[in-house]
Symmetry: C2
């Protein structure tokens, strides 16, 4: 685990984030309705509500419009509780981005005008990814003028399968992580094979036109994140003193963000100042090889050990057993919190409070 | 005209805006469909498209989804061209806010989940203004952590009539401005009388509960702006070093922003660092008494003279004759440009270029 950054330790340099902001991209893909694919909702039928519920948990501490908790009964909590805890401790400002939601949460969100993604088995997963990219680019080019450190997370049930789709289409074989402790990787591979076959896309097609890979077997979160990143980068090159010239962009997530990183590489974006930050629970998943991502694509990956094994709450200890692992930008937000000097014990304590408030309904804004 | 600030002159202090951002609130009210009320669209029927078209002109230089220009044939151009010019010159970042749009533009916007406003003659103009306020508050509390100077503009056809409604409900008699050179103030007063009568609201009701005044005879832009301002102010008091402690809030508009200011006063908000900035075309409108707004409510009003009388383009010279006058935050954005050292001649030249591109279709992003 050579890439694990010793974050949340006394040695961490403090206050190195320049006017940071957290962007949380919310999307749906019908791919999550394939049985056995995603553990992101209470049941497969309720997966569609997960991104809306996650946004409401980040904002209010509990779901409002969503009918149920975005987690299994008795299972590990949604990573939204981690993200909420990190946002409360760091006070980093955040904005939600609606990039193809089926259900809109009771939370203001920047609407990119995207439609939810379709089941990738038909090979026609995303309508107009270029339009989503363009819309997201506009948002990024404005946010990039305000902020020097942009952390981008996501909530999209079924997203590791679409990540596997795009990585496979692009010719990479890293595997992907899962919100299940037992990763249904073979089901995912089969789904991806069907989608790639139905679309007829080849590796050279995909590498030449990554938007086509998204359109075939991806999801709407991908062009949203890639477009925002491109817009952020563009804002540095606009030749005005009013602009921030060096942006640090932290893709907060595991294999889904590796897929977005691969897309950006093949789009020819300057990825110099883009890093991935995720949890050690993803890094340790034997279904995925993040070291290969670093070696192949040159992407620096910061791995955070949240130390949930020491939690007094059984639900959080399940992260250590491989449940849920990551999501809603949790890993990246813990990474940012660590840079700002928040230690592991403080972070865990806050996550426990937020989680208990969610369970008991004693949440406060 | 004692309140005219000598903006866009060589004496102007430069670079006094702290990480500025422009928020452009887009709303509809069916009040604009009352014949003779608004000149904001090509025809009364097309008024509904005006905010969407304005947003597209700011973003792209021309309308995209909207079917026609948001201006009369041969008339003065929409102030969106001024706002676009000021944003291009200053490179101030901007975000659109959807606060009750009937038609959503092809531009990303923060969706507050608001519904368009109804005709105020029925005295039941806005549904759940408190929910719009709360949603906007959330946005403001995040933006306030990123930016120290927030300029807030609006595009809502019929908005001076709803402004008259709320000002009248609150017991103020300042008159309001108009996008017509001959202000149909008597029609507006009659509409407002009908609305106040239908709602049964009294001045003491309205002063005690300004949200009720909005619900009765206001529009959805009002709780959106007031809520964002309240959220911005709240972000300064959150006790973290990461936050900006002093915000300058510039309400970019004429009598509509005076109405929002009055609402905020009666909500008990701290208005110390809130100013209004508008054009001299509003200030000179004999239908409105901005000096009385300053005297009664203590609001500082900065008045910008754009010098359009000197334009080589007849459409812009019509501003000097009282057409259009203001909107889409144009006055406030010219004020911000002036503070940043952009002189009147440079500003006018850029407005002329943007206007000509709109007329000829030669716009570029």
């Amino acid at each position: 685990m050579s890439h694990i950054t010793p974050i949340m330790s006394a040695e961490t340099a403090k206050n190195q984030l320049s006017n940071p902001v957290f962007l949380c991209v919310l999307s749906n893909t019908d791919t999550c309705r394939i049985p056995g694919i995603s553990a992101a909702g209470a049941t497969t039928e309720l997966n569609d509500y997960t991104p809306a519920a996650d946004a409401e948990i980040v904002e209010y501490g509990c779901p409002r419009s969503a009918p149920e908790m975005p987690m299994k009964e008795g299972g590990a909590p949604t990573p939204a509780v981690i993200t909420r805890a990190a946002l409360q401790l760091t006070r980093i400002p955040y904005l939600f981005v609606n990039a193809g939601l089926r259900f809109v949460p009771e939370v203001p969100a920047i609407d990119l005008g995207a439609k939810p993604g379709r089941d990738i088995r038909q090979g026609d997963a995303v309508s107009r990814p270029d339009a989503i990219y363009t819309s997201a680019y506009q948002v990024g080019s404005q946010i990039g003028k305000l902020s020097g450190t942009i952390v981008i997370g996501e909530s999209i049930p079924g997203g590791t399968t679409t990540a596997l789709g795009v990585l496979t289409a692009l010719g990479y074989n890293y595997g992907v992580s899962s919100s299940f402790s037992a990763n249904p990787l073979e089901i995912k591979r089969d789904v991806v094979r069907q989608g790639i076959s139905a679309s007829g896309i080849t590796v050279s097609d995909a590498r030449e036109d990554p938007m086509r890979a998204i359109a075939s077997v991806g999801d709407p979160m991908m062009p949203a994140v890639a477009g925002m990143v491109a817009g952020i980068i563009s804002s540095a090159n606009a030749g005005s003193d009013a602009c921030i010239h060096d942006h640090d962009i932290i893709l907060a997530g595991g294999t889904q963000m590796a897929a977005v990183y691969a897309i950006m590489k093949h789009l020819g974006l300057d990825t110099d100042r883009i890093t991935i930050a995720t949890t050690k629970y993803v890094y340790q998943d034997r279904s995925v090889d993040l070291d290969a991502v670093t070696q192949d694509l040159g992407c620096r990956i910061n791995v955070v050990d949240p130390g949930f094994v020491d939690s007094r709450l059984p639900g959080l200890r399940k992260y250590d057993a491989g449940e849920v692992k990551e999501g809603v930008g949790a890993g990246g937000m813990m990474y940012a919190a660590g840079i700002l000097g928040i230690d592991r014990k403080t972070m865990l304590g806050k996550v426990e409070v937020v989680y208990e408030e969610l369970l008991t309904g004693a949440h406060t804004k």
